[in-house]
Assembly symmetry: C2
Homo-oligomer: 494 residues x 2
């Protein structure tokens, strides 16, 4: 912030955002990625303003709006800025719950969206497993598979994070049962076949997927059984009696709690091993987020994840890495698990959100079920979205956005660290060092901070019970970080 403030002193004041509040912004020291992006937020009305209120009231008659955060006009949103029907323009560091990768109305993506290949993909949506298009191999090879995690060269495409995880779980169950039977060539027994139709073992096996406390993996019945984020996600929904292991909740700053944190991670790994060896429904896979996101932005060290990989290998349990929120560049690596330096890759990696399509990667050919139609559904994803992901990857490469995010993340982390010293009640447990812009901190008055942020021109989200989570897009630059930092300071001062 020092450099920012020094620069600001040299320039005249730049904008009036709130009545009676003069704010200054840095001039970009690095070239903006896009011409035509707003230079700063512009807050004209209380949010929601009168136009938004009218539209929300109309929408509420037919669609549940109680979780509505703000109404947006996306045709008028550009780059890092989201616009609303009242003409308010906010810097968006929430980005549709971490889902917008390269900016609103990104020109390169719009070009892909306007292509004839896209028009045909939208109108002629195939049942991919039965009738893929002649260019499907090309679309996934130049897109989805071009960024496949190391060691994983195959993909099963899906629709969103929940079913990406659930199809990965299904693959894990089929793989385990195939091993128990003695291999892919061994036929199902009559008992397997008959009992499966009755939802009973052995056909519907007494096996489980293990996840971690405070994890989030989706909200359909199987994925929700592995989700342990908040009661509001789970209440009243039947669940499988699957096990949860302790996640090592680290203490910050990390350098002051090295021993304690190592002990917490060792204990968590011991808990994993205990469950694998003793749970009444043996886990055939462990699913884990590189950074627990909905559950409050909980991090663990690369050593912990290497230990988890070793344990799963030792006990013949598959490791599924859920990169739905962490994947596609935000942590300063394309995949967050790239930070771990694993000796052997995860067995499956799931993706969605910033990929704008979904699915899971795998490498082991035995994870293809032994017969067709075992892993199948009508659409199996959406080629239109796969075409878009390809354009996203092109844009990431063109603008070197993974490195950008690593660099800007380091800058932002450093400035937040400084701010934390100034406002110790407002920024606690700052986390995400070296993890790009995938940063978070706890705040004593989190909900108030999130709410007030709109007034200073920033759209920002929370996670868990008291974390402010930063999920800017990959096109977030230092001058955007400066606007965010100034906005936060304004709130902290208020």
């Amino acid at each position: 912030m020092a450099s920012l403030r020094a620069a600001a002193q040299l320039r005249p004041m730049a904008a009036r955002v709130l009545p009676r509040t003069v704010r200054t912004y840095a001039t970009p020291s690095v070239k903006p990625f896009f011409t035509g992006e707003p230079e700063r937020p512009h807050v004209k009305t209380a949010i929601p303003g009168p136009e938004s209120q009218k539209a929300v009231a109309e929408l509420d008659t037919v669609f549940d709006t109680r979780s509505l955060n703000m109404l947006a006009n996306y045709q008028k949103s550009f780059g890092n800025y989201i616009s609303d029907p009242d003409g308010n323009v906010l810097l968006d560091v929430y980005a549709q719950i971490a889902s917008i990768p390269v900016g609103y109305s990104n020109p390169h993506l719009l070009k892909a969206a306007r292509s004839e290949q896209m028009a045909s993909a939208i109108v002629n949506r195939p049942a991919l497993g039965n009738f893929p298009s002649h260019d499907w191999a090309d679309i996934i090879k130049t897109g989805i598979l071009k960024v496949a995690p190391k060691g994983l060269d195959q993909v099963f495409t899906a629709m969103a994070g929940s079913d990406a995880n659930e199809t990965a779980y299904k693959a894990a169950f089929m793989y385990r049962r195939q091993q128990e039977r003695g291999g892919a060539h061994v036929e199902f027994s009559e008992e397997d076949i008959a009992s499966s139709m009755l939802n009973q073992a052995p056909g519907a096996p007494q096996l489980s997927i293990m996840s971690f406390k405070t994890a989030f993996h989706g909200r359909l019945f199987g994925s929700l059984s592995t989700t342990r984020s908040k009661p509001i996600h789970k209440l009243d929904i039947p669940a499988f009696d699957w096990p949860q292991a302790t996640f090592p909740l680290l203490k910050y700053p990390l350098e002051d709690h090295v021993e304690e944190n190592r002990k917490a991670e060792d204990e968590a790994l011991a808990d994993v091993e205990r469950i694998i060896t003793t749970h009444h429904l043996p886990p055939c896979a462990v699913v884990v987020e590189p950074i627990q996101s909905e559950g409050g932005d909980n991090h663990a060290s690369p050593a912990f994840f290497r230990g988890l990989r070793a344990l799963t290998k030792k006990h013949n349990v598959l490791l599924i890495v859920d990169e739905v929120q962490t994947g596609v560049g935000a942590t300063g690596k394309f995949w967050a698990h790239d930070h771990w330096n694993l000796e052997t890759p995860p067995d499956m990696v799931t993706f969605s959100k910033k990929a704008q399509t979904a699915g899971y990667y795998f490498g082991n050919p035995e994870l293809r079920p032994n017969k067709p139609y075992r892993q199948f559904n009508t659409w199996m994803g959406d080629p239109a979205r796969a075409i878009l992901f390809r354009a996203i990857i092109e844009e990431i490469e063109r603008l070197d956005l993974v490195n950008n995010t690593a660099k800007v993340g380091n800058y932002l982390y450093g400035e937040l660290e400084r701010l934390a010293k100034q406002y110790p009640g407002e920024i606690q447990n700052l986390r995400g060092k070296g993890q790009g812009t995938f940063l978070a901190f706890d705040s004593n008055r989190r909900d108030e901070v999130l709410k007030k942020a709109k007034g200073v021109g920033i759209n920002i989200g929370g996670s868990g019970e008291r974390a402010v989570r930063l999920r800017p897009m990959l096109i977030f630059q230092e001058h955007h970080a400066d606007i965010l930092l100034e906005g936060l300071e304004k709130i902290f001062k208020s």
Copy 2:
């Protein structure tokens, strides 16, 4: 067929489809909906031909192709005709597993796909529950909700049939538990909250969704627990111990088995009541397809469904009608359950496939959970697909396609009935009278029929163990029916 053959005699032969096979086609007696649609299939090579084989081999290295039926070139597909990379052009009466509503490369849909509203929707995909677009109310009111089943005026949008059903199930569980608690205003107990996080009752309740034998409702963990179609769909996947009721497997022709069929339906209803009142996991909802599709095209009478509605009302169990495959016009009504003349509407109706988007309709405001974020996920559907559904509805209205399908279906049914008399081993248990083009019949050599159909220029699918299912698009006309009938006869003769 008599009129068809008489007409054919007056005209010269029209096409050579297979070597040494002369075939004749009727001239359309009704104006074709689209100019530029092929007049007939064109089979140039064995299918798959050399180009397709090459492309499939390439695709197989990265994507499971064992369920592949044929590779398609959708840019070259038009109307009722699907093209492949070898230049083969087939009449498609399978339509991406009943999912293409108004023809490949439909001009009106392409116009919507090329619109700026669509481009923005593709590129700026919102987290709908938090940040809907300013035009979302308009998009759903002029689209999805314009065709809402009678009595149902609200919608929860989803991605595909499986999650449409699962979110409907979740709504049912929350509704039931809310009743048990004493109303929406009663807070969750500490025990509810704590146990839900442990996947245990009462927070994760010991309740169930009841479905029917041979039903299909999807393949994720909750929906698969209600699916009872085939072992290959269920083997090795853990399932909830939810109950299945007998579905009345009717005997054909219906007019010769009136008493027997009534008895079968009465027994099935008795089974439903027995399960509702005795199952150890009480059902809070019954889910049913108007016509069991994947399970073999099993029909029941409107009286049966009225009985089911009465029973569910009597026992305070919700009725969820799964119109994923039957919905959007194919049965000669917009929704298949319109055939039933229910006194009170179903509680929820799920949709996907021909809607090209997915979700569930409901009317009772108490089916909105008592708090926000209980029914929620990042994307909650896809506005791009909702815009497309609106265009589909416009096209259905413009061309009066529901009535077209009723009319053509009657014609096709009559001709199939005649064919059945000529080839009694080939067409058995013809079903779907009065149900538009949603027709099916059993065949002694079903798999052979499906396979040979490509050689005579027809892409056709099966369901269950031995049914040939017809799932033409809504733009299927009498002259297309004639081509289908001739093709079938050619196969039967071979």
